[in-house]
């Protein structure tokens, strides 16, 4: 009997079914509705760009792990796939493919692997890739294809005809200092040559029938993905609610104070990358705080910075910068926001 060879390990002896893979593939599933809506509005370009980003992210991670680090290959843990999808979601669907490849290299190589790979990166890799592209190729990164329903030809991808984003059009027109917000939103903007850009109504903003980065347009699809992640307990409500709530209140206050100068808060929430940022980018586990209080501070900070950049800054959109700036504060937030210890002695009165 004494020849039995048992496993010996300290407790616990039971483990939950959660794994890095199950979490990462859960996020990927949550991203699919937004991808589907993007395909609907931007056609094949959306799929091609996403595919290029995913394949190059996995490729670069493989090369770095195999030849530079000479370590374990973990490209199928799902994290590189997510980085690829999110990078694609943050660029126009007609961005030249080689720029997508460069963005992937920056995202994986610089933002992720140089810090030690999964779990060690302080900044959201997809956003680092996106901001790098925005600074390097500002023209291509701000030339958006017009949404067109169910155009399955390659036209959506290669067509040079570009449309505006609501935020960009509003910012440019407001910058001229001639018209009020309401006037611009109602009558549209002359893009030159008699081409009037009409702003999408709330319904179209909700569905995603508006110009913008590949995966950010459909608020409803992103919210569905977010609810799925909440159900799977991949994310908690703290960051998205804090961020969206802050934007609503801050933009709302500005709008009440000066309705002619500042757009209403619903317009802010529904346009640009706020929904994508709140649900998928700011909730990235690796680059967000560890405690509920920390997550709320983080979300509030992103919300404030986003509105400040959008309203007072040079860029029409500020979500990426806001998230990256708050990423830098995460270690500090973690240090300052401890969970309430059980049985903590109350400070002497």
């Amino acid at each position: 009997m004494s020849t039995n060879k048992f496993f010996i390990a300290p407790s616990p002896h039971d483990y939950s079914k959660d794994s890095v893979k199950s979490i990462m593939y859960g996020v990927i599933i949550a991203l699919l509705p937004a991808l589907a809506m993007s395909f609907y509005y931007f056609g094949l370009g959306a799929l091609i760009t996403t595919l290029v980003a995913v394949v190059s992210c996995m490729f670069f991670e493989f090369i770095i792990q195999k030849y530079l680090i000479k370590g374990k290959i973990t490209i199928f843990d799902g994290s590189a796939i997510i980085t690829g999808i999110l990078l694609a979601f943050n660029v126009p669907s007609n961005l030249p493919w080689w720029m997508v490849v460069i963005g992937s290299l920056v995202a994986i190589g610089v933002a992720k692997m140089s810090f030690g790979g999964l779990g060690n990166n302080p900044f959201n890799p997809a956003l680092v890739g996106r901001v790098f592209l925005l600074l390097s190729y500002p023209v291509q990164m701000t030339s958006w294809p017009k949404p067109s329903n169910f155009d399955f030809t390659l036209g959506g991808y290669t067509d040079a005809v570009t449309g505006a984003t609501p935020l960009g059009a509003l910012k440019t027109e407001l910058g001229k200092g001639e018209r009020t917000v309401q006037d611009i939103l109602d009558k549209g903007v002359d893009m030159g040559g008699g081409d009037i850009y009409q702003f999408p109504d709330y319904m179209n903003q909700m569905m995603g029938d508006l110009g913008g980065s590949l995966g950010e347009v459909s608020a409803i699809a992103i919210i569905i993905g977010g609810l799925y992640m909440l159900y799977r307990k991949i994310i908690t409500w703290h960051v998205p609610v804090a961020m969206l709530g802050t934007i609503f209140i801050f933009a709302g206050l500005l709008h009440i104070a000066h309705p002619d100068m500042y757009a209403d808060p619903i317009f802010h929430l529904m346009t640009g990358g706020i929904m994508l940022g709140a649900v998928f980018m700011a909730t990235d586990m690796v680059t967000s705080p560890m405690t509920p209080l920390g997550m709320i501070i983080f979300g509030v900070g992103i919300g404030l910075l986003t509105v400040i950049i959008r309203v007072f800054g040079a860029y029409p959109e500020g979500v990426s910068f806001a998230i990256l700036i708050m990423n830098a504060f995460v270690p500090l937030i973690n240090k300052g926001c401890k969970p309430k210890r059980f049985g903590e002695k109350k400070a002497a009165a």
Binding site: F6, F7, P10, S11, H13, S16, S19, R341, G343
Partner: protein, 444 residues
Amino acid sequence: MLKTFPKGGIHPAENKFSAGKAIEQLALPKTVSIPISQHIGAPAAPVVNKGDKVVVGQIIAKSSGFVSANIHSSVSGTVSKIDDVMDTSGYRKPCIVIDVEGDEWDSAIDRTAGLNKNITLSQEEIVKKIGDSGIVGLGGATFPSQVKLSIPKGKTADVLILNGVECEPYLTSDHQIMMERGHELMVGTQILMKALNVSKALIGIENNKQDAIDYLKKISADYPGIEVHVLKVQYPQGGEKQLIKALINREVPSGGLPIDVGTVVHNVGTTIAVYEAVQKNKPLFERVVTVTGKSVSKPANFLVRIGTPVNELIEAAGGLPEDTGKVVNGGPMMGKALNSIEVPVTKGTSGILIFNKKDAARNEMQNCIRCAKCVSVCPMGLEPYLLMQLSEKSMWEGVEAEKALDCIECGSCSYKCPSARPLLDYIRLGKSTVSQIIRARNQK
């Protein structure tokens, strides 16, 4: 809304295969090895010699300190040796080995079946009797029970809490005890209430044991001051601090004891041992042990004499399955893995749990993805990921400052970690190192 503790916790698969299995008396073994250290505190000092004849219930090793416990013979027979034998810790420890001859009990033990509800001993006599009978916490912690009942000067208890939670998956011994021995539990509770001089006792039971809740609620009507409280299933509700918080919403201070918030917690199995000691003059020499596992053919709850080799329990439950990968003494969350099944059952053995090869191995560790699940499940409000990092880097001051010593080692963090990181292993390392540092500091 059912009551539970507010912060952290998990709900692993319950897998209570042996639920509802009546308690069976296990056949007497040929020899027993009774360790002299089955409790927290100083080992007992043997008072028998090789060749001595002993009877069931005879004292064979005496308590050797304030925190220590008497050990009684669980069988009648001859002491064949007093020697180092491997016990459940995997180390060879001093044991009194007895060859079994018949089953002759100490004549002082009342072996009649009737319930004795009439508590005649005084408060002091009860505490002394419990100490003399070698009773320790049977939930697994094995803390000597009379120490908990000796309330330090300046402190008072106003309520007794009974732990019928059995929050560990798989285990069913407490559940079965509550179902079969409810009246003895009630009288035992009254004895403990008298010992603590309190008029109120709460029995906390999780709502996965509805039959026990219904039964004890029904019979508790005849016992004034005893209330049965239903709790929502959540691990580690059987932890003293969590149970107190759940039942009476008091928080034991960091580094403190339940008595600091006016309560004392005893396990239901311990309470029945108290009944037997005080009312029937029967010391602690047997206990109920669950033998279970996914591949175990006959999961069961056995009444086992202390010192019986674990393999006899496994044989009685249908034998060691072919695909056995790990055998655990206790529950899956806090039990200890055994490296041999020839070790003896001790007072702290609440269950013998057999894992198949697939479930026995740990998953491969991956990078921390900072998902914060360990922080959210920690019932003590700690940050397991941080404690692990600090321990890995030998930053012991940080480990101490981040309250590693508050860790109750429930294992929720390691259970939940998607990257299969050995969080609790490192926290234990941190705790033991910090404890040594603190001891050294205090000696200066």
